[in-house]
């Protein structure tokens, strides 16, 4: 059962402040992921402590890097249930976990960050790994 929207509003706002676009409906998810081109990071948000203390701060740090996804979008697990379930269909080979991040390039998942790669790790450590993934998968060849 979703939490009171007022309680999770700051968790949404944190994502929006760092430049993420929220996908709160199935239609929005399909419109965004259905024919995905270029580079994108899909952040599966969560109310848990490792989202607040680790994942969201890590993403904010990583997005300061010169190489980053062209778009960052987010769904909220446990809150926007249908949108999250739909988004997960676009990376269905990966078991659901939250928080988590899918890095896509032209519709293909090129890297996935599970919860178990976030929990217990400092935001800086998680950000460092994200930046490596950005450099590996999103850098434009010169």
């Amino acid at each position: 059962m979703p939490y009171n929207p007022a309680l999770v509003a700051p968790m949404r706002e944190e994502m929006v402040r760092m430049g993420a676009r929220e996908l709160t409906t199935v239609a929005e998810v399909d419109a965004t992921l259905g024919d995905q081109r270029g580079t994108m990071l899909v952040f599966v948000n969560s109310v848990c402590g490792c989202a607040a203390g680790n994942a969201r701060p890590a993403l904010r740090l990583a997005l300061e890097h010169a190489v980053k996804p062209q778009q960052v979008v987010t769904v909220f697990a446990g809150q926007d249930l249908e949108a999250t379930a739909r988004a997960r269909q676009y990376f269905a080979e990966y078991q659901p976990s939250s928080p988590s991040m899918a890095l896509l390039r032209d519709g293909e998942v090129v890297h996935f960050v599970h919860r178990h790669m976030i929990e217990g790790r400092s935001p800086q450590l998680v950000a460092n790994e994200l930046v490596k993934a950005f450099d590996k998968h999103f850098a434009v060849a010169v």
């Binding site: 402590g49 490792c50 203390g53 080979e93 990966y94 078991q95 659901p96 976990s97 996935f112 599970h114 919860r115 178990h116 790669m117 976030i118 929990e119 217990g120 790790r121 400092s122 450590l125």
Partner: protein, 92 residues
């Protein structure tokens, strides 16, 4: 672990997804909750046994693609526990 305090007041592995190897053929993958005189309590658990093929390959695939949860909760007697490794430390 890198010294980052994840859940102050709890076991250092509380909330961490781990690989729990036993002295027998079964290996458990799940979220470490707590440890007491009954044993190690795991949540959202996947279980490997030899019928599922190579244990190392199963663990590697779980590290890359995530855990396919089979049981909500498992308690492993302390005497059966050989090693506990965070799944995040497994090379994919």
């Amino acid at each position: 672990m890198n010294g980052h305090v994840f859940h102050p007041g709890h076991h250092e592995l509380h909330g961490v997804t781990v690989v729990l190897e036993t002295g027998g053929p079964v290996t458990y993958l799940g979220r470490f909750d707590s440890q007491d005189d009954r044993g190690v309590h795991l949540l959202n658990v996947a279980i490997h046994d030899p019928s599922k093929g190579s244990r190392d390959e199963y663990i590697r695939r779980s590290a890359k693609f995530g855990i396919q949860v089979e049981r909500q909760q498992v308690t492993v007697p302390a005497a059966d526990v050989v090693r506990i490794t965070p799944l995040g430390e497994i090379e994919t």
